[in-house]
Symmetry: C2
Subunit: 398 residues, 2 copies
């Protein structure tokens, strides 16, 4: 197999800050970042008997799935099969190549989630047989993300950490450590109870939530980060689960909302990462109906000055990849809480046609609203710098 020829740089219409992309952990990620007595047990990339490659960790192989690294690959070669590093576009794991690919698509800045060796929320390491080893891996991943992935081009990458979910106190300490060195976001499983952990309807997570609120760290709930899908039927084609990605965001937002987290942590920001905005008007309308009609006050689940739908609009943030119908009713959501995602290098990704797709979808929307959605909201939420004036002008990047 071969990668497609390098695409031509797009004409830049918009400054894009993408709030959902992925990195694929490079083979040297853990080198020099593990305590000496754990070095030999750090995850490492090995060749497998089928000619592929996989991460080897605690005796198990974890391949990178082809669909999670499709950019630059011919469409008829997309599959669920394991992918070797040399079959992937280098932008998957090399930050210099990534920034060059961002330039090609006019993406100014990017929030990059992990891939399978860590899990979208770092959950894989938290599930280690040896917790000391797992926590060292979480810290090494965060150190690498901060020192290499984000620090090489600090204006282009929004630093995101993974979470040690086994202990909210340890997790809170890690949040504070990372906030001091510039991290702005944390990836957390959308529903910890699906992983056998206490649900968000307990006070178990309060130390972590408090640390995030205090440091302005955005909690990002990535679709699929808790091993749950609304696609339940055996024998269904892969398209069913792909179609239902947005349901995860909806279920997570409703769950975190009814857990009263916006009431207990009023300055906490929660981003629904991937899953679009198609469900947000439905959820707002439904919250209004349920809270004024169907079950109002019955369980005493809600108190305070804000209604549930107002709290959703205040504390939660959403991102779109391709929701043309919902963009028409964007004011119901609040244009100041809608962002965009590119989802590089996954099968959903708009790369390298991000600019062209957005130009079609955003046609007819006033410029000030377009600017909010394409970059200003994300820059404000994640406290990230904007590009120098003229970054979009003159067509493609030099």
């Amino acid at each position: 197999m071969a990668l497609l020829p390098d695409p031509e740089p797009s004409r830049r219409h918009f400054v894009v800050v993408s709030v959902d992309d992925h990195l694929i952990e490079p083979p040297d990620l853990f080198e020099g970042r593990m305590p000496a007595h754990l070095v030999d047990r750090a995850p490492r990339v090995v060749d497998t008997v089928d000619g592929s490659q996989a991460w080897l960790y605690e005796g198990n192989h974890h391949p990178n799935i082809g669909l999670n690294a499709v950019v630059g690959r011919p469409h008829d070669e997309w599959s669920m099969s394991p992918a070797r590093f040399d079959e992937m576009r280098p932008g998957c794991w090399d930050i210099h190549a990534r920034v060059a690919d961002m330039d090609k698509a006019g993406v100014w800045a990017s929030l990059c989630f992990p891939s399978l060796i860590a899990g979208f929320a770092g959950v894989a390491f938290s599930r280690s047989k040896d917790p000391e080893l797992g926590l060292a891996c979480v810290r090494a991943w965060n150190d690498w993300h901060g020192d290499v992935w984000a620090a090489t081009y600090p204006e282009r990458i929004i630093p995101l950490q993974i979470t040690w979910i086994n202990d909210p106190l340890v997790a809170a300490t890690e949040v504070r450590r990372n906030a001091e060195r510039g991290f702005k976001a944390l990836s957390f499983p959308e529903n910890p109870s699906n992983l056998g952990l206490p649900s968000v309807h307990t006070d178990h997570w309060d130390p972590l939530l408090a640390a995030c609120e205090e440091t302005g760290t955005v909690i990002c709930l990535h679709t699929g980060s808790a091993a749950w899908t609304a696609a339940q039927s055996p024998g269904a084609p892969l398209e069913l689960a792909t179609t239902l990605f947005p349901i995860n965001g909806c279920a997570a937002a409703a769950d975190w909302l009814w857990a009263k987290i916006p009431l207990r942590f009023p300055r906490l920001n929660v981003a629904l990462s991937e899953g679009g905005i198609g469900w947000v008007p439905m959820l707002l309308d439904r919250l209004d109906y349920v809270s004024t009609h169907s079950g109002s006050g019955m369980s005493g689940a809600w108190t305070g000055d804000l209604t549930p739908s107002e709290a959703l609009q205040r504390n939660f943030w959403f991102c779109t990849i391709d929701d043309p119908t919902t963009l028409a009713v964007r004011h119901r959501i609040g244009v100041d809480h809608i962002m965009v995602e590119v989802d590089y290098p996954h099968a959903d990704s708009t790369w390298p046609d991000t600019q062209e797709l957005l130009a079609g979808r955003l046609a007819g929307i006033p410029t000030e609203e377009v600017e909010l959605m394409t970059h200003l909201n994300a820059a404000r939420l994640f406290r990230h710098p904007l590009p120098p004036p003229g970054w979009t002008s003159g067509g493609a990047a030099a």
Copy 2:
């Protein structure tokens, strides 16, 4: 406790055909409708030690839940507690009282689903320890529904049957028997695999689907009919599950669609009963993106002339209870596939304020579209007669 005073009849703005209401099975439902040797084992209503009432069937008690019979009860008495028949508004189980209540709210016709003794899709009887007894109960329920509930006021009730889900051949025979005596609809679990049965991604159900297509029997997938909810977290307030009702409709529609049922049974009509229309634009947009971009052709899951979203718009039917934002983008769904529901006597019900709520929600929409959504689409889908001219005029019913 006491029921509220009888409400004043509403001013009638619209002819309403409600495609999602419920009946509560009356205590005498099975009398005279069971084979002689099973009479003693038919479900029967008994007084329980806590002063409530419950159906006794195969040694288990099945109470009617208060939230499923809230109409006419003071809001502060709504609860999940069991309800006695004398605590319910008689319209719950008595067809004369029901039609009087429909008159009060300007509801011309109603499609009534079962309550807990049967399960929304009759699943409870199919799960009987003794299958002979269970099947006799399904047939008795259908006989009663046809002979009493629907036949007493044939222009006011759309006959709906429950399904023997243990054997698609038996179920198909029952569909044909019922079609001959005027049944127009069948309640089927939204996802049989959640009940341990073969999924819709097999050919197991084809005899039943073929019988429905052949007889023009609409398959109604009622939210919650397969014991699945997107509300997963332990300790969540009841409002979470109530808020997430719509997810069931979305997940079921996507599931039945990717099972290629519209391609294999092109004239089959599938109604998503309860759950609103808020998710339909999202699903259409998402289907278009997934089928042209993210996974197009990868699994070979889709063939034929229609796209998945076009098939959703052709074979599936939707109903709204309160989706103001989505009504603004109703043309994306197709105004000819949107219907309304009242959900009498459940906690979500708009009764007795159905007319007033609809008047607010439908304000500004052209009359011909309003007429499609309030009654013409439902009358066409379920082949049900329309009211005599002038039925809405002159304010409340005599």
